[in-house]
């Protein structure tokens, strides 16, 4: 479970200060598939960065499984990100010099797993997204949709507690975007907690819960019919 209590994020100072998040209180339970929606500048991605410990809030707390992360140093946060979180970035974010299987295996190597074990587990993860046949290809040899699915495979390979996805369909055509959302839905059905930022209402409605934001605040927080 992940909680935000009185979460604030401000950029700049004085007259130029921008309030990106206004004292948010959110609780996301295990196994939820949450979409964070809203217009540009609503603070969606800023919220994601705070919850995923990529950024430090100006005020408030992020509590992960009962632990207050505001007291952790950068190395400890890195450990949490490595062990408990998975990320899917908007632009795939695969390392160009690594093959597909090595990109997926990298976080597990960092966790201390041997290369052989990491690759076996990476292959299983690639199989879940239907790309085990592309294990030796480099990212430049894959389509955008395939790269995003590899990114998903990397994010879930180490069985994270929470999967964060920042606009995962933004750079994809509609067919590939649907494939990605279907993959997320399948992961959710198998018990994965997912927090996804998206512009697309159509995709948001395929999640179990929608948090709508505007001007740094939550304007609505409701469960979707598909959550039943």
């Amino acid at each position: 479970m992940i909680q935000a209590k009185g979460l604030e994020k401000k950029y700049g100072q004085g007259e130029l200060q921008v309030v990106a998040l206004k004292s948010l209180n959110i609780e996301i339970k295990d196994r939820e598939f949450v979409a964070v929606v809203g217009p540009s500048g609503a603070g969606k991605s800023t919220l994601l960065y705070q919850l995923s410990l990529l950024d430090r809030p100006t005020a408030g707390e992020v509590i992960v499984n009962g632990h207050n992360t505001s007291e952790l140093n950068e190395a400890e946060k890195t450990q949490i990100r490595l062990r408990d979180f998975g990320y899917v970035f908007q632009d795939y974010a695969l390392l160009p010099e690594l093959s597909t299987i090595d990109n997926v295996a990298l976080p597990m190597l960092m966790q201390g797993m041997g290369l052989g074990s990491a690759r076996r587990q990476a292959l299983q993860s690639l199989a879940r997204v239907g790309l085990e046949g592309k294990k030796n290809n480099r990212p430049s040899q894959l389509s955008g949709g395939q790269q995003q699915r590899v990114s998903i495979a990397r994010a879930i390979a180490h069985n994270p507690r929470i999967l964060f996805a920042d606009e995962p369909t933004a750079n994809l055509d509609s067919q590939n975007a649907r494939h990605v959302i279907e993959t997320f839905a399948e992961l959710h059905r198998s018990g994965q907690t997912i927090i996804m930022v998206t512009h697309e209402q159509e995709y948001a409605e395929q999640t179990s819960r929608i948090i709508a934001m505007k001007d740094g605040a939550v304007v609505s927080d409701s469960y979707t019919p598909s959550s039943n």
Binding site: L54, R81, L95, M110, G112
Partner: protein
């Protein structure tokens, strides 16, 4: 975190760093990689070859001195003495010593040599006569020790059974001397003397008696060793007949042995000689200290010049790693974002720098010891006073490898640290 946990964390970071570095090097452009390694090779060669050649200018003359005159051990009269005492037993000891391969005893004395047999010069003209050191050699032993015949540039070498023949060093003859055009005051050279000329040798003995004999010039000796090119040579049999000297009274005994063993041999000889007086030295001890000082100065100069190359190489590596890391700033941020430790990322760049340094050093070693050193040994640089060689030892090269690698590691570590410590989110978003 406990110490063992920290060590485990570092080992893991090193493992992941190696994983990334290996793939980054494989993925890098072959042209760029080759160029960087080429720069490292040049830097290594600069470190070794520049100082090696500067030192080799002098070391070449030392080597020629050893190979062409003194051997590894040279025995001369003690100060105040005119011959090596106890010469015969000493020579017998040397000839039976397992560490000695060749011995060449030599008689020598001062002499005058007249270039024209008539001693009546024209008015205001100096006689065609010079003073020089006369050396009596056993041609066979001298050949075994110094390959003496290679110095005979014109004419032929002496034969043990011949009499009446003389070899003259080129620097004593106006026709062949390197100093002929110099017009140095006080420097006399024999005019109109060449192979086949008749010359008169005059030796003044200690009791004032004068010995004269005419010789035919059989050959002219050319060498950068003064002890060859500025002396005159006849067979020792003939010299002993001219002089009322004790057969055992040698003025020089040159010994060929193993260079590394020479100091120990000197100690053994001193012990053998006991109270008998002689100056027993290794070649290194016999070389004048001012030449040693020149050698040291050349080495310092070479190291100073090489340091400049080292600075250039370290800046090159710094720039390469810095540009690499800056252009991959976003990916570095993403790696940190997904939990890859900053240490692992830094290690990947340091290991890349290490790869360049080690590759350059390895290729540099092959070039130095496999190509350059044999080449300069076979084709030394022709300096007026010596044949310049390349002085490069495994120990010296190893030190330079370590220096280059350490400098490279720092040059790779600093830019990696600068880039990796930037804010993770800023790097991901390209801010």
């Amino acid at each position: 975190m406990s110490a063992s946990e920290k060590i485990k964390e570092y080992k893991n970071a090193l493992r992941v760093g190696w994983f990334l570095a290996y793939r980054q090097i494989r993925h890098a452009g072959k042209g760029t990689t080759s160029l960087i390694i080429f720069i490292m090779v040049l830097t290594f060669l600069n470190l070794v070859v520049v100082s090696g050649l500067l030192v080799g200018l002098i070391a070449g003359s030392f080597q020629q001195f050893r190979e062409g005159y003194s051997g590894e051990v040279i025995i001369t009269p003690a100060p105040g003495r005119s011959y090596v005492e106890n010469s015969a037993p000493l020579i017998s000891y040397l000839e039976n010593h397992p560490g000695v391969s060749t011995v060449s005893p030599r008689h020598s004395t001062s002499a005058q040599i007249l270039g024209t047999l008539s001693d009546l010069p024209e008015k205001n003209e100096r006689p065609n006569r010079i003073g020089a050191r006369l050396v009596g050699i056993d041609p066979g032993r001298e050949e075994a020790l110094t390959r003496f015949s290679r110095f005979v540039a014109y004419g032929e070498n002496l034969r043990p059974d011949q009499e009446g023949y003389i070899l003259i060093g080129a620097n004593l003859l106006k026709k062949y001397s390197s100093f002929a055009d110099a017009n140095i005051p006080g420097l006399d050279l024999l005019k109109d003397v060449d192979v086949g000329s008749r010359v008169r040798l005059t030796i003044t003995l200690t009791d004032g008696a004068v010995v004269r004999k005419d010789f035919t010039v059989k050959g002219v000796l050319k060498s950068k060793i003064d002890e060859v090119s500025a002396r005159i040579f006849i067979t020792d049999k003939e010299l002993k007949r001219m002089l009322p000297i004790n057969q055992e009274q040698f003025q020089e005994i040159a010994v060929r042995s193993d260079y590394a063993r020479a100091p120990a041999l000197v100690s053994e000889l001193k012990e053998f000689m006991g109270s008998h007086a002689a100056l027993i030295q290794t070649t290194d001890q016999a070389i004048p200290s001012f030449l040693r000082d020149i050698e040291t100065t050349m080495g310092i100069l070479g190291n100073a010049l090489s340091s400049i190359a080292l600075v250039v190489a370290s800046i090159t590596i710094f720039i390469v790693i810095f540009i690499n890391a800056v252009t991959k700033r976003k990916f570095i941020g993403i790696m940190k974002g997904i939990g890859i430790s900053p240490q692992a990322i830094q290690f990947s760049y340091v290991l890349q720098a290490l790869f360049y340094g080690l590759s350059g050093s390895f290729l540099g070693l092959i070039l130095t010891f496999g190509v350059l050193k044999p080449y300069f040994n076979a084709h030394p640089i022709n300096f007026p006073f010596s044949d310049g060689i390349l002085v490069a030892t495994p120990d010296g090269a190893a030190v330079r490898v370590i220096i280059l690698v350490v400098v490279t590691l720092f040059a790779g570590y600093i830019p990696a640290k600068l880039i990796v410590r930037r804010n993770t989110l800023d790097a991901i978003l390209g801010r």
